[in-house]
């Protein structure tokens, strides 16, 4: 076991990990952050996405021990005291049904809007191509993101 210290949603957190424990398992089981979900566990579905030093990554394909000293943001850190504009839009557009993919989608869309505040529909589709949703057919997800980019214009 080795002590790992990360900045998780703005707070410094430490825990003991074995080298073979994934970031996803450590976040969920040792640090109590439950928004990243285990979907495919193979890096294909995007439901475990978190922001590592500001970039979206698959937490199921990263070992927690690799993250020493790094900054990790999960959905819990995106919303803070109130929901983000993006989350409000997802509610308004009824973008999710079962919600299992939602944390990963919101993380990926947050990264997109932070790097490219006014993406085209094609850019949104490309950015979210690694986030699988089996409920919605994606249309209400894309609509919500488009609405946020337009709101910022006003």
């Amino acid at each position: 076991m080795r002590q790992v210290t990360i900045t998780l949603n703005g707070e410094s957190r430490s825990c003991l990990v074995k080298p073979n424990e994934t970031l996803l398992d450590v976040l969920r089981d040792k640090l109590g952050v439950k928004s990243p979900k285990c979907g495919c566990d193979h890096g294909d579905c995007g439901s475990c996405a978190v922001l590592l030093n500001g970039k979206s990554v698959r937490s199921c394909l990263i070992f927690a021990i690799e993250c020493e000293g790094m900054e990790i943001r999960t959905l819990e850190g995106v919303s803070g005291d109130k929901l983000s504009a993006l989350q409000e839009a997802f509610i308004e557009f009824n973008s999710f049904q079962c919600g299992y993919c939602a944390p990963g989608v919101i993380i990926t869309a947050t990264e997109l809007l932070e790097t490219n505040p006014h993406p085209s529909l094609d850019e949104i589709k490309e950015a979210l191509s690694g986030n699988l949703c089996r409920c919605t057919g994606y249309t209400p997800i894309f609509d919500a993101i488009m609405a946020v980019t337009k709101k910022e214009d006003e």
């Binding site: 073979n20 990554v57 698959r58 990263i62 070992f63 690799e66 950015a127 191509s129």
Partner: protein, 297 residues
């Protein structure tokens, strides 16, 4: 799926320390950069290393630069780094195009091009373009540095010339002096995380020299030398394209698997070659031709 096998983890801060560990542990060590392939192999128990050496502490491998007419891509350069590089986009467009086709942003933020050619899975997207550029693999070990032409690098699916005590420091691409254009063509079932059912890179110079490489349709990437020789000096007109496409069958050896049949891959490779040559020709003439991501199967 937790990783059941226990291993040691080290993150060396210097190259000397890194090479010392590799030399001490040999086959017992695996090198970790982005880890998008390695984590899966560990989860599926395909590898049982004693030691995982994380090279992300070695900042010198993070660079994309041109030195003495050679583009150098370090071992820690991710696909996202390549996509963000104006140098790559403006001067090595087919390379940029292939990087853009790899998985999705959450993978590209971690996965490295060097890792892609070290994993050497036949459907890798980096190899065809690198084969066309006659890239060189820069290896380093305690014994010294070594350069291997990429044409010799791949020896079988998931097998390369890398020896247990060697680290791939980077990829070197000699800059082509003459005016040229190129394309990367990928066949997938959908955009996003899908692997290539077949892929293809083409470079064409203003004096009508061609370089063509197929991927994912043989155990290792295939430079289509007979087609390159046939095309030399010719413009890609319809009858020329048809004759070139007819030569594809003798060069590649696709398999049937869960993603496509042998027959389909064989057929579509001819289509990809024809479309790819046409687009390359347009790009050489300065036209802004579309990406060739073919959805099928």
């Amino acid at each position: 799926m937790p990783v059941t096998h226990d291993f040691e983890y080290r993150r060396p801060q210097t190259l000397d320390e890194m090479l010392g560990l590799l030399s001490d542990y040999q086959d017992g060590a695996v090198i970790l950069a982005g880890g998008t392939d390695l984590a899966l192999e560990l989860k599926e128990d395909l590898r049982r290393p004693d030691l995982v050496i994380d090279i992300k502490g070695l900042a010198e491998f993070k660079r994309i630069e041109v030195i003495d007419g050679t583009l150098q891509i370090g071992a820690l350069v991710t696909f996202s780094d390549l996509l963000a590089s104006e140098l790559i986009k403006s001067q090595f467009y087919p390379l940029w195009e292939s990087a853009a086709s790899v998985a999705s942003v959450g993978i590209r933020n971690r996965a490295t091009m060097v890792g892609n050619i070290c994993s050497a899975v036949p459907c890798m997207d980096s190899a065809p373009v690198l084969m066309c550029y006659d890239a060189q693999i820069a290896l380093t070990s305690k014994a010294g540095e070594k350069i291997v032409p990429i044409a010799e690098w791949f020896i079988a699916p998931r097998k390369t010339l890398r020896k247990a005590d060697e680290l791939v420091a980077g990829i070197r691409i000699p800059i082509i002096a003459i005016e040229h254009a190129g394309v990367f063509v990928k066949l997938g079932r959908y955009k996003g995380e899908d692997l290539a059912q077949a892929n293809l890179a083409i470079l064409m110079s203003a004096d009508l020299e061609y370089r063509i490489c197929f991927g994912s349709v043989a155990p290792v990437p295939v430079r289509a030398v007979p087609i390159e020789e046939f095309l030399r000096g010719k413009k890609p007109e319809v009858n020329v394209l048809d004759q070139a496409a007819a030569m594809v069958e003798t060069l590649i050896s696709p398999i049937t698997d869960v993603r496509a049949s042998r027959e389909y891959r064989m057929h579509i490779c001819k289509v990809m070659l024809k479309r790819g040559l046409a687009v390359t020709h347009e790009r050489l003439a300065g036209k802004n031709a579309e990406h060739l991501f073919i959805l099928g199967g």
